[in-house]
Symmetry: C2
Subunit: 436 residues, 2 copies
């Protein structure tokens, strides 16, 4: 085989994987709409300038960037927030505040692929723009929790690790550390759980801090800290606070966060974060040289770690299976037992489809038993046999093997009625798509 392959780190979605992807996308979309968020989308390709300096070193070092044929510096987007800020600031007068928007689409990063991280991944982004209240932060944390739970991931399976960057600004001030060290300090904290203690200690000492003092502060920071009081009251009222764990080591890698930050983690498998986000009040101003200043907060959830977690979580299987059953399979398989009847059979195929029924059939003359086998493969609920009986059609229930003859003239109404009957198996038609 000549062997064309996917580009390193990119994915093929064969039908089974595509159905899984659609299940994730549909679930994100459904919960976001329930929260009153409206969907938008930006381009996957943006000027590289849009991401430089705004996203932080971790992301800009991994930019999938190149020059196009006109020497433009462009990048496959590593994240969507800069595009959102670009879009909102360009037309902010057209939208009532708070703007509550969500987005679903591919992002890219150029790094060595490893488990849970390819070079392409699909992100769900939800953002609230033009509202600086803690209530908006709480809404986003609640949405992150409810999206996760909608997949059948339950209490005990996951937690939201929550913090606030301002507690670290206050800590630095209280310890007499110059504000200019803030960015470096937050990078040290971001890596504190993974780095060797000696290394962390050395880095902290370089800016005048000891690991002991930092650790003691982290350990003493809990849900009683006043920075979390409002969020706690809000999420407690909703019955969601038990999903939240205060964790001062959470600061998020992105440069633009200003106060509330949070990540969604699984509790059983030690996977990477499933989602993360926070408040980024200065990004719009930064991107417009101060012309448009809109307080903002949001989070993103990726499909890759989530997909791994879904496979590992028993409670998540039912939702997946229900979706798969809806994504595949026909309602009806039309069988041409006598080629002289093919014209009538094709007319019935057309009429049934126009009535919304999912119909398959063999495209050319095929032996009867092969057509029956194809009907089984298609997971059809009934077979309609066009043969010597025409103008009657043999309707065969493929669950219980019972059959009856029905006049062709009333076939569509009859089949529509049959498909409502429990004896004809689960209702497959429909699925995730939106009925127009």
């Amino acid at each position: 085989m000549a062997g064309f392959r996917t580009v390193k780190g990119f994915r093929d979605f064969f039908p089974e994987e595509c159905a899984m992807r659609n299940y994730i996308l549909d679930t994100w979309r459904r919960v976001a709409r329930r929260y009153g968020f409206m969907e938008y989308e930006g381009p996957v390709l943006e000027s590289t300038d849009l991401f430089r300096k705004k996203s932080g070193d971790e992301i800009t070092g991994q930019l999938y960037c190149f020059q196009d044929k006109a020497d433009r510096e462009v990048s496959l987007r590593p994240e969507v927030t800069p595009s959102l800020a670009r879009m909102v600031t360009a037309r902010q007068r057209d939208f009532k505040k708070p703007i509550k928007w969500f987005q679903i689409g591919s992002c890219f990063r150029y790094e060595e692929p490893q488990e849970g991280r390819g070079r392409e991944f699909i992100q769900f982004n939800a953002d609230i723009i033009g509202d600086d209240s803690t209530g908006a932060d709480a809404e986003l944390v609640a949405l992150a929790i409810d999206v996760t739970r909608e997949f059948g991931i339950r209490e005990g399976d996951f937690a939201v690790r929550l913090s606030n960057r301002t507690i670290w600004s206050d800590f630095l001030k209280d310890n007499g550390i110059d504000e200019k060290h803030t960015a470096v300090f937050l990078q040290i904290i971001d890596k504190i759980e993974r780095a060797r203690p000696e290394e962390t200690s050395q880095k902290l000492e370089a800016i005048g801090l000891s690991l002991g003092v930092v650790r003691a502060f982290m350990d003493s920071t809990n849900e009683d800290h006043p920075a979390f009081a409002e969020l706690r009251a809000n999420l407690t009222a909703r019955g969601l606070w038990q999903f939240v764990k205060i964790d001062a080591s959470i600061v998020r890698g992105l440069a633009y966060y200003t106060s509330t930050v949070f990540e969604v983690f699984d509790l059983k498998h030690g996977l990477r974060a499933v989602a993360g986000g926070g408040r980024y009040d200065k990004l719009c101003a930064l991107m417009t040289d101060g012309h448009v200043d809109l307080p903002s907060a949001g989070f993103a959830m990726g499909d890759v770690v989530l997909g791994i977690l879904l496979k590992k979580t028993p409670g998540a299987q039912r939702g997946i299976m229900d979706h798969m059953a809806a994504a595949f399979g026909a309602d009806v398989f039309v069988i041409v037992a006598d080629e002289a009847q093919r014209g009538h059979a094709l007319r019935a195929v057309q009429d049934l489809r126009e009535a919304g029924v999912r119909v398959e059939y063999s495209f050319s003359a095929t032996k009867m038993n092969k057509q029956m086998q194809a009907a089984e493969n298609a997971k059809a609920r009934c077979a309609l046999i066009f043969g010597a009986e025409y103008p009657e059609v043999v309707v065969k229930n493929l669950h219980n093997r019972q059959q009856e003859n029905i006049p062709a003239a009333t076939l569509v109404a009859h089949v529509q009625h049959l498909l409502q009957q429990p004896a004809y198996g689960p209702l497959i038609a429909g699925g995730d798509e939106q009925k127009a």
Copy 2:
């Protein structure tokens, strides 16, 4: 304003445009499933080699190609068929034939943007692989017709222009023209309706033909030509032949088509083709150096020309409006009339959403009239007012302004019941766009 912009030829989808995009995607998906096709997806980035020589000069000249950081030659895909052939030939034993798959995703081409052609567009692809019958061709033409009609584009609004490349091979043979001229000849035919006659004439004479002979053959080729007999019988049986016009000038630009070719055109606005496709029996063999030989046929429909056509077609407006009404708008707006009740209100927000109700509310203390205004903006069907009446909640119908007091304990069940009532308006509030 600093003014970051989209990269030339790329699009932002603000909520209204995104809802329109989703309407198109959902409609494609629904009809394809009704036809028993399964969804797949390939990567948007592929090795440039995958597209070279396989797609034909028109597409390879417009490749959005570049070198990545490891000097790989990669391209943003200009079309999906080569990826499909790559995927299917890699795993063909895993799938029963015929393989009936569809795909929806972005494609890219590097050319000057103009009306109906940007550098990024979304394509719907439907293909049948492993079946060489005319019945499969007919199924694809029928699917193209039914997808178009599903948008409310009707008879008289559009036609399928149908031809077959073999009629031109036969024509060349009958006129004693060497087979080696076929590719050049088909390119001349592809452009014959747009090029200046003198130019066409000159090019034809270079390979030993006259424009007069070619024109006469084109004019004499109609639905009675034996090459179309089977397709005609099939589509006539379905009641779809009246949508088809035989047009020998249709050959399609792509190199890989072998016999049946067709395009969907609007009949009233002179737009570019809405969709196009045909049979490409040799592509799988070409891509695998002959190791996997699978007869194939398919077509693609883009979102851009279709979107223009939908805006211009009166019959298409109802479907768009119904979709917009479903995409925007809340069921319920929760109003906090007394901040002391915010905790109870948040609990109700959570409970209602868990019951599947679409709920919005103000995230922080807001004047009563502003909350009412926000409820109107959200096109909510009812307002739930948490104030002095608590533990009773005032439920106000925003269509007829009637209100009643309901105990908080039974609120969710009550609201679910109310939302089924005609007095509470359409299932999801209507209107054009919510700019929340």
